[in-house]
């Protein structure tokens, strides 16, 4: 009889099948709870959706009424011998059911905005993506080289890091009013907020990553005749580039959080504007759909970047992160095992 392996063990990688099951469950479980709350009538459902107002004057058909108020009104109607209202249990308007959100997700792109001057969903989304791109891009163009320099040269670190360390505690949204005053009311102040939110963290994170370069590699390169400049560009940079890439993926996620604040500054725009507008119209299914869209974009861009990373850095053996990495490893695993087998053989046989 095969030995029973416990599911919860400290510091042990799980068998492949279990990893897949758990990754699957991590999405299915929240979705399932949402379904239960939405579709099982006796779970929560504090409201009543009126199917027939009866003789209760203040209720009309299809109205959402608070459960207690509904009971009180009916009790009153009963005592006065009038016809009671009837309704089905329902959730508040701000919690749409999964199928409603799914429908909103599909129809969101095809529905004409209520007013002609308002942007379509895809236009809002694209606007957000451009803002985040330029903010993150501008930050990285300066932040990555500066971070690497601070990590590699203690003098640079001493010169820059104390101030940056201080500045990163200033909340980026606090600069909103200032940014609008300086840069106008359209996209530039939004890009500036993302820049401020990203840049200072970025320099420190990348400097710290750079400091983790293996000193033995630097010494080896020195004994091979590398100059200081060559040490920086041929050892430090390639030595930490995979870790910096991972840092950048995490930082990009942070940039998305600043996006929501940034888009409220000046003329509200992008996906935030879309969400706010839909909330005003009480289209909560569309609000949820938009939030999901942001999540999906974030998730799939990260999966894409992870896959790109494996292409760019073939020497990095362990692909960190997502379950897509696991999928990729299944296909690569066989080839790698063969190479390693070959290596083992070679070592035993005399050269």
């Amino acid at each position: 009889m095969p030995q029973r392996v416990p599911w919860f063990r400290l510091n042990r990688e799980l068998p492949h099948k279990r990893r897949l099951i758990l990754s699957f469950l991590s999405f299915v479980l929240p979705l399932a709870s949402w379904c239960i709350i939405s579709y099982v009538p006796f779970v929560w459902h504090p409201m009543r959706k009126i199917t027939d107002p009866g003789d209760v004057t203040w209720i009309s058909r299809d109205q959402l009424v608070d459960g207690d108020a509904f009971e009180t009104a009916n009790a009153q109607a009963r005592s006065q011998g009038r016809k009671e209202a009837s309704g089905t249990p329902a959730n508040p308007v701000f919690l749409p059911a999964p199928h409603e959100v799914a429908r909103a997700l599909f129809t969101g792109f095809t529905t004409r905005p209520p007013r002609p001057e308002e942007p379509w969903l895809h236009q809002s989304l694209w606007h957000s993506i451009t803002v985040i791109f330029w903010g993150f891009f501008a930050s990285s163009v300066i932040g990555v080289p500066l971070g690497v320099l601070c990590g590699a040269l203690p003098a640079m670190a001493r010169l820059n890091e104390p101030f940056i360390e201080f500045f990163r505690y200033l909340p980026a949204p606090a600069f909103g009013a200032l940014a609008v005053a300086v840069l106008g009311i359209h996209d530039p102040p939004k890009i500036a907020i993302i820049f401020i939110g990203t840049f200072f963290q970025q320099v420190l994170v990348i400097a710290n990553t750079t400091r983790r370069v293996d000193p033995a590699l630097l010494e080896a390169a020195q004994t091979l005749g590398a100059s200081r400049r060559q040490l920086l560009f041929r050892v430090v940079v390639p030595g930490v580039i995979t870790d910096i890439y991972t840092d950048m993926r995490i930082l990009l996620g942070w940039a998305w959080t600043y996006l929501i604040v940034a888009e409220l500054i000046g003329v509200s725009s992008g996906i935030t504007y879309f969400i706010n507008q839909q909330a005003k119209y009480r289209n909560y299914d569309k609000v949820f759909a938009s939030i999901f869209l942001i999540g999906l974009i974030g998730f799939f861009s990260d999966v894409f970047l992870a896959a790109l990373g494996r292409r760019l850095f073939p020497w990095a053996r362990t692909a960190r992160g997502s379950w897509m990495g696991t999928v990729a490893r299944i296909f690569r695993g066989k080839r790698e095992a063969e190479t390693r087998e070959r290596a083992a053989e070679e070592d035993v046989a005399p050269a």
């Binding site: 010494e219 020195q222 004994t223 005749g225 790698e336 290596a343 070592d347």
Partner: protein, 299 residues
């Protein structure tokens, strides 16, 4: 057990070995270390890792450095490589004092220091590229030859993580030799390998050394390794690190694994052991207190 065999003196050299040493010493001195001192400041006072170490290595000599842990043998290698400064004293390479690390002194470390982002080929080419010693094509051609010399032709385009420990060290040796250094410094290069791979690597190293004009300074704590590889063995004392003796190994070349049990080998080994652990057999009994109730019949 060892005492049962009558061992010759380690100073007794067969004629062919004596002739070898005569020729060796006639060769020019490549490396000259003069009164090297290295002191570290610690919270408990000054620690003298090396105290007046002087030595000479001739061209194509294989010099091993052994000593108890803490005798400063790694420090010596790092100073020779230029990775550390000495407190006082001088290191001359071909008569000129060394200044900082340079491609004329190759180094192989105990930790695998291959660049993980470069293939085997590019790793071996690294030194030739940074020193711009020759054109890229020429560098690649030479690198391929070195890779062939260390027997890794099939792995030219592999990345380091695809190689075993022994293969990584062979690449490291090829990488260091590609610069055509005057001396090759090896700081316990096989220390991290398992016993089988290690003895294989020792044999490889002797083969490689035979094909290349290079002086090797090899740091180790493994006495048998030292006797098997070296022409001469520098024995260091610890605290402070001073030269105890310079031993000429009487085992003839080419060395083969069967030399491990030859009388001259065993005699040298025994002598080294006495130098490094004098009377250690009297002191290595631990003051054992009985912690459990073990019946006398258990012994």
């Amino acid at each position: 057990m060892m005492g049962a065999i009558e061992l010759p003196s380690h100073t007794e050299q067969p004629p062919e070995v004596r002739e070898r040493f005569r020729r060796l010493k006639a060769r020019p001195v490549i490396l000259e270390v003069k009164k090297l001192v290295k002191a570290f400041e610690t919270p408990h006072g000054t620690l003298c890792a090396l105290d007046g170490v002087s030595l000479e290595a001739h061209r194509r000599e294989f010099l091993c450095v052994i000593g108890p842990s803490g005798c400063g043998k790694s420090t010596l290698a790092r100073i020779l490589a230029g990775l550390e400064d000495s407190t006082s004293g001088e290191v001359l390479l071909d008569g000129a004092p060394i200044r900082g690390p340079g491609p004329d002194r190759g180094m192989v470390f105990q930790a695998y220091t291959l660049f993980p982002w470069l293939t085997v080929l590019r790793n071996v080419m690294f030194g030739l590229e940074v020193t711009e010693a020759c054109s890229r094509d020429q560098a690649e051609r030479e690198a391929r030859q070195w890779i062939e010399l260390v027997g890794l032709k099939r792995f030219t385009d592999s990345y380091p993580h695809q190689l075993s420990g022994g293969m990584k060290q062979r690449v490291a040796i090829a990488r260091a030799l590609a610069n055509r250094p005057r001396i090759l410094l090896m700081d316990e290069p096989f220390g991290a390998l398992d016993a089988q791979t290690r003895s294989q690597m020792q044999a490889y190293l002797l083969q490689i050394w035979k094909a290349v004009d290079v002086t090797i300074v090899f740091i180790t704590h493994d006495l048998e390794e030292a006797v098997y590889l070296a022409d001469r063995i520098l024995v260091l004392d610890a605290h402070p690190g001073r030269i105890r003796e310079l031993v000429e190994v009487p085992v003839p070349r080419p060395r083969r694994p069967e030399h491990f049990v030859s009388p001259s080998f065993l005699a040298t080994r025994k002598h080294l052991e006495e130098l490094i652990h004098p009377g250690s057999y009297d002191h290595n009994e631990l003051p054992m207190i009985r912690m459990t109730q073990v019946g006398d019949d258990v012994e």
